[in-house]
Symmetry: C2
Subunit: 461 residues, 2 copies
């Protein structure tokens, strides 16, 4: 397989000379790096560099900058808004070889990792330290990708998003220069917040190569509980009330009847096929009992079933693995199909109404669908399971999704709680931030990437 | 008093016509707006606009932009790094008239306020709601100023900084256009994080006019405890161990013997003149007892005194009022003098050594000094009490402060944990972020303020 014509022969040569076998233009490699876990079509890059250190990333970016060639960072390829597609060709930089945990500092409750370390790898490396890293998107994403996407997950209601848990970053800018956005102090008021500017920038302002992240002490006690509700509204309301009362729930995950059916089939559970919330409580033994009892009472008043507790570590792990697999589980309901996933997030006071109206929208869809949500944050996903060969299904799902997003924006919410903009949500950016906001973002983009080589066609278009 | 020659007569006329009595060029008004609570000299603006709404701020900025005249936002004037001095002349925009609490939403645990609302005003307005806003710099600063400075305070160890507690902002950009940086969802991955870009930007990227902030439920129980230690090192170590063990202390404030003496005199206490930590615990009655007992045990092993508890609301309020007044109390030890205050923040594992070495530096100073600190965050302030007429004392304090900052940077800390850069710390920005980091910040500044009219001479110089 030869490369496309969009990349200068000189650049290809430079990369081949520097990286040898770790620069690939093989069709399968390029195709793998031109798609993520979504319905967005494959758009392969012209070549893929497998980087092993920050200086190699800097070399590749400098080479691309000299040739005006796009640079697209690639972590685990698990994003779902079309973040890695090479819409203008260019070189993908695969970060999976940068997978060393550089330091775990128990005394400072932080760790420094290379960007290609995945969340499950970090979990494993933290075993026995008494510390954990909380942010857990469903997939086994890389930490660099999670930061670039502004990811969050099931524990965000208690422990925050990637933005809340990244202390500082090392990144390669469009010039090929390396910046470190801060030290390891727990807070700083020095200069502009480059850390948060890069978090969520999806590779359009720089390639994140290292991260220092916050760790949290493993709680003395943890218990998960499963509760089925008569309807979606009641399930949502149980979580909203818990959050409004300030009960520090550690996780509160909604699965609609379809998602429960999918999880039962995919992960071997036998939950009643009803709207269900998976809760988790963290703290002292007394806290866990008290928080559980308070929320069980709230739930009972809303018609919820008696709490089915998972207290043992292996039970809890199995439960949350099933929740994390809910997306592939839902897709497996219709083999060979893709997902198109909404990701809105609204103020919690609006959530019950928002989900109810979304359910009504979805009920008119001609393809199967399910709803899962990090409802403690006001964030949920309506997943459309679409036939990849049906333009009509894609158009229908996109039209419904548009309604869902507009509703969220009207409620002072956001078009994306945790998946990012990618290619998929560029059209909503102006509706969310107005022309002035988008112009400000574009000015920042031009300032840091004047030639527009960093993951072009994403976030700000 | 006539205005200086640096502002065009046309601009003066436009502002007078639009704002009438709410545009002032009186000498006293200008002098008041040309200084903060620090040792930095008064540099008055050419005129002061007293704005009452976002559109008025936008009008003033547009007028200044047309004339290429600097714009300097002014909140309560309580910053301490020279944030408001009109180093290149220009118009100060006084935000204190924008002091309406626009909405308190108990169901969403948030509030929207105009930028001139002060933290104590917000405290008062939240009485009876069961909610509170945690960020508490010593002074009664405006929320807008606190966001612009990236402020934090005594509760940051538990509830976070301004950055952690601002949901979204409304701001007037250098063009005079108004941007809203987000909605009210608890999280969002949409576009570049303009909220965090403006937090800590000290008026150099825009004028913050409204903020939506997170509120927190008032804990069921709260108790403060005072503990004296044989030395500074032991006092610091008690907090470091508590943080490392993950005990969720709500406040942990260090006062050295000098600070205690100052607080005794200023606020009528009679604490032993020894290094002392003021702790606070929040949670259920059981949590508060448990956390207090754990930390009292840690403290006792380090030679700390028995905990002296303040459980009643009025006792607690009096205690924390005294702590918040520690800065004026220390200055009052030498009447007529100014403060020069370090503000470094280091990883907690380095804190005990850092404070000990700082104490040694300070012990060679010829003027009086004291140390107070938010030690749970790794942040502390060495306060030099200097004679405003002595250039020698200023030079001596600045030289020692430089040593203190360099030590913090060598420990992967920051030159400012919460006071910001202002004019005072511009020289350290390059040492903290390197040439690439500062160049990136300057590129962002030029992108959003090409004519350089927004609070020039601050942050990035």
């Amino acid at each position: 397989m030869t490369t496309t014509a969009t990349v200068a022969a000189g650049l290809q040569e430079e990369l081949r000379e520097r990286f040898g076998d770790r620069y690939s233009t093989a069709a399968a490699v390029r195709a793998h790096h031109g798609k993520d876990d979504s319905h967005h079509p494959v758009i392969p890059p012209d070549g893929v560099v497998f980087a092993q250190c920050t200086e190699e990333v800097a070399f590749a970016v400098r080479a691309c900058a000299r040739h005006g060639t796009p640079v697209i960072p690639f972590g685990a390829g698990t994003s779902i808004e079309g973040h890695v597609q090479a819409v203008r060709g260019g070189i993908s930089i695969d970060m999976s070889g940068m997978n060393r945990v550089l330091a775990v500092r128990s005394d400072d409750l932080d760790a420094t990792v290379e960007a290609g370390v995945t969340r499950l790898q970090l979990d494993r490396e933290l075993k026995g330290t008494g510390l954990f890293f909380p942010v857990d998107p469903g997939a086994d994403a890389t930490l660099g990708g999670m930061a670039a996407t502004g990811a969050s997950g099931t524990t965000t209601v208690r422990y925050g998003t990637m933005g809340d848990n990244v202390v500082s970053l090392t990144a390669v800018l469009a010039s090929g220069e390396v910046v470190r956005t801060g030290g390891r102090a727990r807070k700083s008021s020095a200069g502009y917040d480059l850390t948060h500017l890069l978090v969520g920038s999806e590779g359009t302002l720089g390639v994140i190569t290292e991260l220092t992240v916050r760790l949290h002490p493993v709680p003395e006690a943890m218990a998960a509980a499963v509760c089925a509700f008569p309807g979606l509204a009641e399930a949502v309301q149980s979580v909203v009330e818990a959050v409004q009362l300030g009960i520090p729930v550690a996780r509160a995950e909604l699965l609609d009847a379809t998602a429960i059916k999918a999880v039962n089939l995919y992960s071997g559970f036998d939950y009643a096929e009803a709207p269900t919330v998976f809760f988790e409580f963290h703290g002292s033994e007394a806290d866990v009992r008290a928080h559980g009892a308070m929320i069980e009472e709230i739930s009972r008043e809303l018609g919820g079933s008696a709490f089915e507790y998972a207290r043992r570590q292996d039970e809890r792990v199995r439960l949350w693995k099933a929740r994390h697999d809910a997306y592939p589980a839902i897709l497996a309901l219709r083999p060979g199909c893709h997902g198109l996933t909404s990701d809105i997030c609204v103020p919690v006071s609006a959530l019950a109404r928002c989900i109810e109206e979304t359910r009504e929208d979805m009920s008119r869809a001609t393809m199967p669908w399910g709803i899962v949500g990090h409802v403690g944050d006001g964030n949920f996903h309506a997943v459309f399971i679409i036939d990849p060969d049906s333009a009509a299904e894609l158009a229908e799902a996109e039209a419904i999704n548009e309604r869902i997003v507009r509703r969220a924006l009207a409620m002072e919410g956001t078009c994306t709680g945790e998946h990012g903009i990618g290619m998929g949500k560029i059209g909503f950016l102006g509706e969310e931030f107005g022309a002035v906001g988008v112009a400000a973002m574009r000015a920042v983009k031009r300032a840091l990437d004047p030639a527009g080589i960093m993951n072009p066609g994403k976030v700000v278009g």
